[in-house]
């Protein structure tokens, strides 16, 4: 088909400075009308409500304990537990246990991130690998990592290696699965845009896929942390002695051996408190910030 386009020039230069200015002003007005003002205020409910919930739980616990349904040494109230925690604190045992466990937990978690992230990215991006290893990784997430404790003791004896092995087996599958889920939820046009913009496979993974998958990835990290903390406690309860240090799980086990419910409940509360603190100080703010920056927080109950 022969086209007879003769005049390719864009036409007379009727575009004056004035007209451009007028267009700019018009657009500025429309932009203002169509943009929503976003406002943020300090939200005290975020602090007051969880504190109130804790107070309510403690009150209920104290009341039930005061009813005297069971012997006080079998079912101590919050005041009794606070007293034995205070004793342990003076002896320095709680601090030592928390530091030991937290160090192990954080170190194990850090290693899990370093191992799990490239693994997850690789599985999410390479189809044959995903098909081959996907079910295995999902399966590993279902397998309680405590199941690895006997094997780890046989392999590594009562050393720190046993504890770290169990932590890694708990955390890595969660992180990998979280990242894969995050990648699966990326809108397909993010990839086509990247391709049009000339991204290589590597750039696509690092500059587009990873940031796009961040919400899922952070959810995976959060679960990975929970799993590593749990596995750590389980490992510390089961594997005691040898060159193993004294962690919160060991404290719990000591309470059981001594039949001291004060110590047992105190250790449980310390384990819980660490979990809550990490959520409040690390994952909560990170997640909120992530969602807010993407405009995903409006109307959420967080």
């Amino acid at each position: 088909m022969a086209s007879n386009v003769t005049a390719l020039d864009p036409g007379p230069a009727l575009e004056t400075e004035n007209e451009t200015e007028e267009l700019r002003a018009l657009e500025a007005g429309l932009d203002e009308l169509q943009s929503e003002a976003s406002h943020r205020r300090r939200d005290w409910g975020r602090v007051a409500l969880p504190l109130g919930a804790v107070v309510v739980v403690l009150l209920v616990w104290q009341i039930v304990a005061s009813l005297g349904l069971k012997r006080q040494d079998l079912m101590p109230g919050p005041l009794d537990v606070a007293a034995s925690l205070g004793q342990l604190w003076q002896g320095g045992q709680v601090q030592q246990a928390i530091v030991t466990s937290l160090t192990r937990g954080l170190l194990g978690f850090a290693v899990s991130i370093v191992v799990g992230t490239p693994l997850g990215l690789l599985l999410a991006q390479v189809r044959p690998l995903r098909r081959a290893f996907g079910p295995l990784i999902s399966g590993l997430q279902v397998l309680p990592s405590v199941a690895w404790v006997p094997a780890a003791i046989i392999w590594f004896g009562l050393t720190d290696a046993t504890v770290y092995f169990v932590v890694l087996m708990g955390a890595i599958p969660s992180i990998v699965n979280g990242l894969i889920a995050g990648v699966d939820q990326i809108p397909p046009h993010y990839r086509s845009v990247a391709k049009v913009l000339g991204a290589s496979r590597f750039e696509l993974a690092l500059q587009v896929v990873l940031p796009a998958a961040l919400p899922g990835y952070v959810a995976g990290l959060k679960q990975g942390w929970a799993f590593s903390w749990r596995s750590l406690m389980a490992a510390e309860i089961i594997a005691v002695g040898g060159s193993l240090g004294f962690g919160l799980g060991s404290l719990l086990d000591q309470g059981r051996t001594l039949s001291d419910m004060g110590i047992v409940m105190g250790a449980i509360i310390a384990i819980l408190a660490v979990g809550i603190l990490i959520e409040l100080l690390v994952f909560g703010p990170v997640e909120r910030r992530l969602l807010r920056r993407r405009g995903l927080l409006a109307g959420a109950t967080r």
């Binding site: 088909m1 086209s3 007879n4 386009v5 005049a7 390719l8 864009p10 036409g11 007379p12 575009e15 451009t20 267009l23 700019r24 018009l26 657009e27 500025a28 429309l30 932009d31 169509q34 943009s35 929503e36 976003s38 046009h189 993010y190 086509s192 845009v193 990247a194 391709k195 049009v196 913009l197 000339g198 991204a199 750039e203 500059q207 587009v208 940031p211 796009a212 961040l214 920056r293 993407r294 405009g295």
Partner: protein, 241 residues
């Protein structure tokens, strides 16, 4: 010639042809509107010109550096600011860091969004997002700009404004623009030339020149719009049973 399509054909697997015998030649700096009903393979044609898909028959000639692309959805990355989105595009092109910043500012000024540079996509209106997407497409610095119904999802006031904006930017930058649309009026308003594609299979069945004199004369533009609409409807009726 900037883009030359010769007897281009495309079919997926054993299905019927999507495109068959598409012929067109588009000059450097020309603004061409590609018009067609659903199923005319417009998006496939753009993908082929952009090099995202290969034709199954025929030949095409495009500038060696490929083409920039703008989609119906602005498709900005929500974790980056307006500026960040443009800077990423420049980065993927291999532009140095200092230059990226200056160039992004320049492009945002070009689409009149200098003020909104540090806003994130969810804080921008639909029209502003499309302007950022336009700036990102221009950051590609390619001679040819392919636009796949970029204003279809916008309200009438915004679309009207963006038509003016796009015309101004086209004049300022001298790009070759291939603009796909369902909207006859939009095609007449923007294009120097309107190509009508048939449906199933898609091929160029008709074309009209739209001189500036016609664009500026409301009655003449309306007459041409009616003319093109009649031809488009005739093409659609052919598919009725």
């Amino acid at each position: 010639m900037s883009v030359l399509l010769e007897n281009l054909g495309k079919r997926f697997g054993d299905g019927g042809p999507i495109l068959e015998g598409v012929n067109a030649s588009i000059g450097a700096g020309e603004f061409v509107a590609l018009l067609g009903a659903s199923g005319c393979g417009k998006s496939t044609l753009l993908n082929i010109i952009a090099g995202l898909e290969r034709p199954t028959s025929g030949a095409l000639e495009v500038p060696a550096d490929g083409a920039a692309f703008m989609f119906q959805d602005a498709a900005l990355y929500p974790w980056l600011t307006a500026r960040g989105n443009i800077e990423l595009a420049l980065k993927l092109r291999g532009v140095g860091k200092a230059e990226r910043r200056a160039r992004a500012t320049e492009l945002l000024e070009l689409v009149h969004l200098g003020e909104a540079a540090d806003k994130r996509p969810h804080e921008l209106s639909g029209g502003m997002r499309q302007r950022v997407a336009l700036a990102r497409a221009l950051s590609q610095d390619r001679e040819v700009l392919l636009m796949d119904e970029p204003f279809a999802a916008l309200d009438a006031i915004t679309r009207d404004l963006l038509h003016e904006e796009l015309t101004r930017i086209w004049r300022e930058t001298g790009r070759t623009i291939i603009f796909v649309t369902h909207n006859v009026r939009e095609a007449v308003r923007l294009g120097q030339r309107v190509l009508l594609l048939s449906s199933r299979p898609g091929r160029v069945v008709s074309e009209w020149d739209v001189p500036v004199a016609v664009k500026d004369d409301a009655a003449a533009a309306a007459a041409l719009t009616a003319d093109i609409t009649a031809r488009l409807r005739e093409e659609i009726r052919r598919h009725g049973k």
